[in-house]
């Protein structure tokens, strides 16, 4: 059966539903946010419709620049950590028996059912001085019990834990479909398994890995609870400050301006990554 390109207006019918959903749940809220970001803040009150740039002006300072830089750095670090752990793990998983694969995937999927709050509190207990894992080492006489949170490491650990299931789920189909003869050929030609992994598997999956990096990056950029629960104030991301402004300071226009800025910066970074990927492919 040949698929005809749509000719008449009704042929576009099936597109109407997703288009309507996109408009209602994305375009309208996002447009509202952009509009609010230009509204005028009433100090000690709420906001009035207006068209002012004050909210963006306030954002352009060294302080917020540093917070933005840290947020981007944290999101990239989480993405890198997830891919570093996720690619070898998923590769080994795709080579193992079907039963093992199913068990692992069920465990990973069950992590997705945990809310961010539960993950945060669980890790803060695990890393605490009074009830944490260091008590096990203390019992073995290796070290004194100490608090591992709040710290950058605690934030990274919990965020990586939270994003890893997504990483594996995105990588899994690509790795399962990967032709096993590729590695066999590399092995026949004398490459060690590790060498075959880095010279054959990783390049063959370049686009998948890039897509995974971008997905985890965006996912991590929106995190606001884990940095608060497990980090010190210098580890708070821009999302934490946006929440502060929106929920506690009732400064919707400034919160909206920061959010718009964050979206623009992350979109341009994603665009840059995709562009770089294309260039490399063309070369």
């Amino acid at each position: 059966m040949r698929r005809e390109p749509p000719q008449r207006f009704p042929d576009y019918g099936p597109l109407m539903f997703p288009a309507a959903m996109l408009v209602v749940f994305f375009v309208i809220p996002f447009a509202t946010m952009i509009a609010v970001s230009f509204f005028e803040r009433q100090q000690g009150g709420f906001y009035e419709p207006a068209f002012v740039f004050d909210n963006y002006g306030r954002f352009l300072s060294l302080f917020f620049g540093k917070v933005l830089a840290f947020s981007l750095f944290l999101a990239m670090a989480v993405a890198a950590a997830c891919v570093t752990i996720g690619v070898p793990f998923t590769y080994l998983l795709s080579r193992s028996s079907r039963g093992t694969q199913i068990r692992w995937l069920v465990v990973l999927l069950s992590i997705l059912s945990l809310s961010e709050v539960m993950i945060g509190f669980a890790w803060s207990t695990l890393l605490s001085r009074t009830a944490g894992i260091t008590n096990l080492f203390a019992m073995l006489g290796l070290m004194d019990a100490q608090a591992l949170t709040p710290s950058f490491g605690a934030v990274m650990t919990a965020m990586t834990y939270q994003a890893l299931p997504y990483t594996v789920l995105v990588l899994y189909p690509a790795l399962v479909r990967l032709d096993p003869t590729l590695t066999e050929a590399a092995r026949t030609l004398g490459a060690s398994p590790v060498r075959a992994f880095f010279t054959v598997i990783v390049p063959a999956l370049r686009n998948t890995i890039l897509a995974t990096l971008i997905m985890v990056f965006i996912f991590a950029l929106g995190s606001y609870l884990l940095p608060q629960l497990l980090g010190r104030p210098q580890h708070w991301t821009l999302s934490v400050l946006i929440t502060d402004q929106a929920i506690y300071q009732s400064n919707m226009p400034f919160a909206a301006a920061m959010a718009v800025f964050l979206v623009l910066v992350s979109l341009s970074l994603v665009g840059l990554a995709v562009y770089a990927g294309r260039q490399k492919e063309a070369a």
């Binding site: 608090a147 629960l229 400050l241 502060d244």
Partner: protein, 362 residues
């Protein structure tokens, strides 16, 4: 037992259960149509549990008005939700207990429906400062309870109670403190001003505020947690993970009564006294019920129950209460309290917020 388990559910039993289930689901709407009701917002956790147990059932018994309690988040988060909802003509709660900073902010947008004092005769017993008025004299809120934020410690880690707020600055307490994360609910500027600058007058000017900020910034190395979420600090305080900090006197007392190793101390410079007022959302349609509720809550007997059961400090005059000296001292102190500079948070909110965020996160 086995026989019961093996017995197949008959068709009739299934139908019956379904019918019963459906009528259960339909019940609340029937109740709503028959009885008068009111949605009341109070702070979630120990506070709300205590109201649900000790106050609301008695109120329903006395007036026939059913209360649906709503757990509200601390301070301004709830204000923002109420305001957004009121703009859409909705009221997530009819009457809410609002802290003073939030109440003042709500007044600036006319969020609170003016209250009719002729329907709240019991207000005559209240201490004057606990009645909130709009600048034009309309009544915006009526004092519900007042509470203290004090210096709290874990008794296992600190066998001796600290005596002064200056303990927060003590280098011996490095990385041991939990403090509130927002300028407008921690009132640490007032604490610093009282402890090191002889009073809160220095906060009259911007230069003075910056000077206080510099002094306050010295506590940073001692702070392990700047908390937005009370449960997070409460948990850490009980376990000794974060053994010192600022927290609510009433809740700490309830936790200590439950056997947790915590104590609340009024420092020699005084505890921070904040208060909550009942305020009615302008989007509410339960105006009559709300007035009945507020009037009920202003009775000295009810205020006494609150002091005994919830641990809050009363808003009615001392001589109207039947609290013993011991009971009164448990919820209050003779030391002159630190009163927050509410108007400062109103007039300079963005300046304070910016400097505060830069101080703790910078």
């Amino acid at each position: 037992m086995r026989e019961i388990l093996n017995k197949a559910a008959s068709r009739r039993a299934v139908l019956g259960a379904g019918l019963a289930g459906a009528s259960m689901l339909a019940m609340p709407s029937i109740l709503r149509a028959q009885d008068r009701s009111l949605k009341v917002g109070v702070y979630g956790g120990y506070f709300k549990d205590s109201f649900d147990k000790n106050i609301f059932p008695e109120f329903t018994k006395a007036t026939g008005i059913a209360v649906e309690s709503v757990a509200e988040p601390t301070g301004e988060a709830w204000l923002v939700q109420l305001e957004q909802a009121a703009r859409a003509g909705q009221a997530p709660a009819d009457v809410s207990m609002m802290s003073q900073v939030a109440l003042l902010k709500g007044m600036s947008t006319d969020l609170w429906a003016p209250l009719d004092m002729s329907k709240i005769p019991n207000v005559s017993g209240l201490i004057d400062t606990f009645v909130n008025k709009y600048p034009d004299g309309r009544f915006a809120g009526i004092g519900a309870v007042s509470w203290y934020i004090t210096l709290v410690t874990n008794t296992d880690v600190y066998p001796e109670a600290p005596t002064s707020w200056s303990a927060l600055w003590d280098a011996a307490n490095a990385d041991k403190l939990g403090l509130l994360a927002l300028v407008s609910n921690s009132f640490l500027l007032e604490v610093t001003a009282r402890t090191y600058f002889g009073g809160t007058d220095i906060l009259d000017t911007e230069e003075g505020i910056l000077e206080v900020f510099d002094k306050l910034a010295e506590v940073k190395p001692n702070v392990r947690l700047w908390y937005r979420d009370e449960a997070q600090f409460e948990q850490a305080l009980k376990s000794g993970e974060i053994p010192m900090g600022q927290y609510y006197h009433d809740v700490t007392g309830l936790a200590a009564a439950d056997g947790h190793p915590v104590r609340s101390t009024f420092p020699e410079e005084g505890g921070i006294r904040d208060s909550g007022s009942w305020a009615l959302s302008r989007a509410s349609e339960k105006v009559e019920e709300a007035h009945t509720f507020i009037n009920y809550m202003c009775q000295p007997e009810i205020q006494a129950v609150l002091s005994r059961k919830v641990g809050t400090s009363p808003t009615v005059k001392r001589d109207l209460l039947d609290l013993t000296a011991e009971e009164f001292n448990a919820v209050s102190s003779d030391i002159e309290p630190i009163i927050p500079r509410y108007e400062m948070y109103q007039e300079r909110s963005d300046f304070l917020n910016q400097k505060w965020t830069e101080m703790i996160a910078g």
